[in-house]
């Protein structure tokens, strides 16, 4: 997984049936220090996250589908947790 920050939301009424009801978030990957690092990914929300939240970003299809709880969901990314704190160093 990667650390990420939710930077936006996407509304798409016409989408693949197995995505119905899924909330879609735009998530920017970031380093532990909070520096943006990597493209912005569109992920299904499996943690009730909101814009501005620091989150756990899952970037693998099978696991993302499992996080959404739907068999054979056409997804390759999911937000699976909201981060409260990050501690680094000794």
């Amino acid at each position: 997984m990667r650390l990420g920050r939710v930077v936006g939301t996407v509304v798409a009424t016409r989408k693949s049936a197995r995505l119905d009801g899924a909330k879609l978030l735009l998530v920017e990957a970031m380093t532990a220090g909070g520096v943006p690092s990597g493209p912005v990914t569109l992920a299904v929300d499996a943690a009730q996250a909101g814009v501005g939240d620091t989150v756990l970003l899952l970037l693998e299809g099978r696991a993302a589908g499992a996080a959404l709880g739907r068999r054979a969901a056409p997804v390759d990314a999911a937000v699976v947790g909201i981060v409260d704190a990050i501690e680094t160093g000794s």
């Binding site: 936006g8 798409a12 879609l24 493209p39 054979a72 056409p74 390759d76």
Partner: protein, 100 residues
């Protein structure tokens, strides 16, 4: 998945049988501010998207899932047509094709 815009279509009469009857779209990934980001790619259409539409696509093995049980050989499939999106100061409304 990735936010993107359909910038063209691809016609291929000689192709894998399991791609028959499916529309091939030229897809340009977008940054949240709507500007192109990264290389365009060819994706299979699963939602009836057309040129100019803002969409999102899925990559990898899951890209074949919308067509199951048929085994479609694709690593990128357009699985959503975007009505609007917000991203900080940026964001946008899908141009034109969504009448109120």
């Amino acid at each position: 998945m990735q936010l993107a815009r359909i910038v063209g279509t691809v016609v291929a009469t000689r192709k894998d049988d399991n791609l028959r009857g499916l529309k091939l779209l030229l897809v340009q990934p977008l940054a949240p501010d709507g500007r192109p980001s990264g290389r365009s790619l060819v994706g299979v259409d699963a939602v009836g998207a057309g040129v100019g539409e803002t969409v999102f696509f899925v990559r990898g093995r899951e890209a074949s899932f919308p067509f199951l049980p048929r085994q479609v050989p694709t690593d990128a499939t357009v699985v959503g047509s975007v009505d609007h999106w917000s991203a900080g100061a940026a964001g946008g409304r899908a141009p034109g094709e969504k009448q109120a």
